[in-house]
Symmetry: C2
Subunit: 209 residues, 2 copies
DNA sequence: TAGATTGTTAATCGATTAACAATC
DNA sequence: TAGATTGTTAATCGATTAACAATC
């Protein structure tokens, strides 16, 4: 696994949201401290691994005590950049695009959907968010300084859309089209491969039967 | 990474859908043979890794020639169990549930959505698929011998729903609720963690800025 | 203080890469 | 045949686990 600029492997990075998630649960249950052993029980990662992961970023624990859930979550959130906020647009206002635009959980992660775009004209607002026409997208991205594009268009259009949003200045892409987009230097792309996940499910279904 | 019954690591399994996807592209472009070197260029995996991956399941290539795209895809598809077909239901007929029920790509992978379920009464059909009431779900699963439940209900209901579908005999769960479901022995669970993916995007956005 | 648990180093394990004989 | 490329073994690399001194 290649390491990024900071020297932290992607394997480790992808466990951070899990810590974030379970720490939130612990805090919501009123639990103030947690040991790596208990976190291990909850997350399924080994206690050793958890301590290693966290120590990549600093010593957040205390010997003999463990970790303060609130303080640790604050650190994890800071590592993940949840304090930052990103102007986002959804491209493709179909069911999936609508579902994403309406889902409040993403706003909590710092991604504010400020507009949707579609080739279809005169679509109704989605949860109070305007659906604009695709042809106005690039100007909108430039004018509003949009950070992130969430792509939910059909596969055959996703490369074309990606090129446009990158040229217009978008710095991150969250891609739902079943195609592996690759961004140039300075643009982050996160591909969601639902179909791959389903094929994996298919494999394991076969295994158990 | 733990190995499964067949002795193939999950890391390898999760690359198989990628081979499937790119082989399909090659075949659609009329390309009949491909070397591990060329597959490496396309997929980003190393040629060595590709040969190792495929040889976990058998020697599908030919020295001096490479791989026949059609024959290899057939093998990969068989490994993934795409020839099998699974009766599936979508639980939660919101936008996400509707998007999934309508998406034809999943049917191509062998997952046929035969019904949706929702707590809301008297919902309209989605692409000709009936939306039934949640209270009839367990009987339906038993009567129709449903194999897979696709869960798109809000987080707070997903455990309860999972318990019900498992008790009713479902053998696979594709979970979109932001909660790590764990299945008992004999039940396969594939969790889609969209929010985790978004937090990873957030991390890398911070890195580049 | 005694017990608990971290932070960190060393050991192990698994996955990836390199190399090359086999062979089409 | 000569060139190409696999299948497979060995070497390397990275990630996980084990162990334990430090210390709260």
């Amino acid at each position: 696994m290649p390491k990024n600029a900071r020297g932290i492997s992607e394997t480790v990075i992808r466990r951070m949201p899990v810590y974030h998630r379970y720490l939130k649960e612990l805090i919501d249950s009123g639990i103030e401290r947690v040991s790596s052993k208990e976190l291990s029980r909850i997350t399924g990662f080994s206690a050793s691994q958890i301590r290693q992961d966290l120590n990549n970023f600093g010593g957040f624990g205390q010997q003999g005590y463990g970790y303060n859930t609130k303080a640790l979550k604050e650190q994890v959130d800071k590592i993940l950049g949840i304090d930052k906020s990103y102007k986002s647009i959804v491209i493709g206002a179909g069911r999936l695009g609508q579902a994403i635009a309406r889902y409040k959980g993403f706003r909590d992660s710092g991604f504010n959907v400020i507009s949707l775009f579609d080739v279809k004209e005169d679509m109704e607002d989605i949860s109070g968010i305007k659906v604009r026409n695709m042809k106005d997208m690039e100007k909108y991205i430039r004018d509003e300084k949009v950070d992130v594009a969430i792509i939910t268009v059909p596969k055959e259009f996703c490369q074309e859309v990606a090129k446009k949003v990158i040229d217009a200045g978008v710095k991150g892409i969250w891609n739902f089209a079943p195609y592996d987009l690759k961004g140039p230097e300075g643009v982050v792309v996160e591909n969601i491969r639902l179909n791959d996940s389903l094929l994996t499910l298919s494999y394991f279904m076969k295994e158990i039967s």
